[in-house]
Amino acid sequence: MNGFFSFSRLIALLIKEFIQMRRDRITFGMMLGVPLMQLVLFGYAINSDPKALPAALVSLSQDHYSRAMVSALENTDYYRFDHVVESAAEAEKLMASGKVVFVVTIPSDFARRVDRGQRPQILIEADATDPSVASGAISTLGTVASEALLRERGVPASEAKPADRLEVIVHRRYNPEGISQYNIVPGLLGVILQMTMVMMTSIALTRERERGTMENLLAMPASPLEIMLGKVLPYLVVGAVQVAVILGAAKLLFGVPFIGSLWLLLTAVLIFVLALVLLGYTISTVARTQMQALQLTFFFFLPSILLSGFMFPFRGMPDWAQWLGEIFPLTHFLRVIRAVMLKGADLPTVAFETGILVLFIIVYAGFALMRFRRTLD
């Protein structure tokens, strides 16, 4: 029997791990339930069409045209004009403090321009830090306000000349790029996978150590490679199930487009999941207790979410942050999955980033095997 690797010993470890997984109902439920819950929660939070958002009106002229437009805007349910202010500076303060999401400014010469037949303008500023919040509201604004104005003037919409149409000037504040929500759902897949996979495997060895079963396991003839695979492969299976659930939900609930090859997508996801479980396992070879393992995991989570391009546009970050971002598998995974899912990229296009994910696997596995303590010292 080979000392380094034996298939039957690996099978022994795998069976044991699956039984334990099945017995631990709560954890098992969490492995499937939590990702779905998170997807639905975040997915809807991001994808929903928020209504009745607080807005400020800067109305410098209190004419009947303005009043008609404001009431029409309120009727769309998107806007709730909590504040009517006199100056732009005041409105600016409200937006900076987050009290309002929109500032609608109706210029003082508004009525005069309408009466003279000049094209009237209004300015809408939107807090675009969360791009999905503003998008629905902005897109309805133009038509609604324009129609309200025509109605007020008694001009039928069919006879309106271009100059009668309202000109809406939109300023997206704070996040001019406006990441689309489609960007976010595939990203969410990466983040959710990272969360569950790394966390689950990070306690794989520390749990054995804390329960005292490690002593027995080490006294039996299982090699470090077998122990690693025995721990990691079951979670790869769990990861695959999670992927199926999340992708299914993404399609059914959010109608996220799948433009690229599904096989390429699944391959990339599996490579990513393997990197994640190995990362978790690496953490568990370093940590001494389950608590330490979880702390290390969270220590890793926050920067990877912030710097991977999930939260902020990657290219918008300063150079040093971009460099730092490159060390997270999530960063590379996001590039691959966005390219494949949303832009229909083929293998050659994403080969480089996928290769980097494979590199993570090799590095993590090597490090874990090196770090693995065959003894209790």
Binding site: I15, G212, E215, N216, L218
Partner: protein, 305 residues
């Protein structure tokens, strides 16, 4: 060739030397008892022998394999029973045994598991979670699991702690039967009667091996003299005797006191005036292994504090 042949083992944790220059030889087929007070380094020594700890100094072979370099080979031929139950509590009895059987590549797995369960008398409870077994049954399960792959050397760390007398007797019968077939056993214990069932004992105290040999050898080499004192109000008498020079141990055993000392003349002198007292009888007694151990413990300074 000896089954265990280690010399000069040293193990330190931080600046504490837990195992200090331990040398041990155990022949094939021998049953050696490993005794010593709590925290004296028994578990640590056993762990070194099965490759779970690397010694800081010292060397040796276990079953002919180098302690430092051939750990995996040692593991395959050794059965190690840990002091604390360390099988999976969330696996059933049968699943635990099947896990062990597969790890040692025993085929067919089912037959090995069934046979072991049968021998244990646990066949009817095979689907019970190991964590829900009583303490004694956990010990018996662990023991059964570690002899399943028919090891050549058994390292047992307090295997009978909490086990009832009948099961203990069965256990020792089994150990002797296996040893007759050539299995070597190193077993740590705190029970004197178990020590007496071993071919040989080794006594370790705070990391240092103090005595080794058959029970009779160890008792003789200790050079202790024991007197039995019978009479009324033994409690008061014991307190009085403890103060006297030459008396090193006074311990009640049933209706008499064991009075132990290492200097026969001094002890005689100390007990001289008792013989005349009303109802008190002094007679020469046998020194027991326990007396010897208590003496060892009293003499060795606890370097663990």
């Amino acid at each position: 060739m000896n089954a265990i042949d280690v010399h000069g083992l040293v193990k330190r944790f931080g600046d504490k030397t837990v195992v200090n220059d331990v040398t041990m030889q155990v022949a094939r087929g021998e049953i050696v008892g490993f005794l010593g007070p709590n925290g004296s380094g028994k578990t640590t020594t056993i762990r070194i022998m099965c490759g779970l700890l690397t010694p800081d100094e010292g060397d040796g072979t276990v079953l002919g394999f180098n302690l430092r370099t051939e750990g995996l080979k040692i593991k395959r031929e050794v059965g190690y029973m840990t002091q604390r139950f360390s099988f999976y509590e969330d696996l059933t009895i049968a699943e635990n045994l099947a896990f062990v059987a597969r790890l040692y590549d025993l085929k067919p797995v089912g037959a090995h598991v069934d046979r072991t369960l049968e021998e244990l008398g646990l066949a009817s409870r095979r689907n019970q979670l190991a964590g829900t077994l009583s303490g004694g049954w956990k010990q018996r399960l662990a023991l059964a699991a570690c002899i399943m792959h028919q090891p050549k050397l058994l390292l047992l760390d307090e295997p009978t702690a909490g086990v009832d007398p009948k099961a203990r007797r069965d256990f020792w019968d089994e150990i002797h039967r296996l040893a007759a077939d050539g299995l070597t056993v190193l077993v740590s214990t705190h029970y004197m009667d178990e020590a007496e069932r071993c071919h040989r004992i080794s006594y370790i105290s705070y990391g240092t091996m103090l005595a080794t040999g058959s029970v009779a050898d160890v008792v003789r080499d200790a050079g202790l003299v024991t007197y039995l004192v019978d009479g009324p109000k033994l409690e008061k008498l014991a307190a009085e005797l403890r103060e006297r020079p030459g008396v090193e141990q006074v311990a009640p055993f049933g209706a008499s006191l064991h009075v132990v000392g290492s200097d026969e003349e001094a002890l005689k002198a100390a007990l001289q005036d008792l013989d005349g007292r009303e109802g008190v009888r002094v007679s020469r007694g046998e020194t027991s292994l326990e007396d010897v151990f208590i003496q060892f413990m009293a003499n060795s300074t606890d370097n663990m504090q």
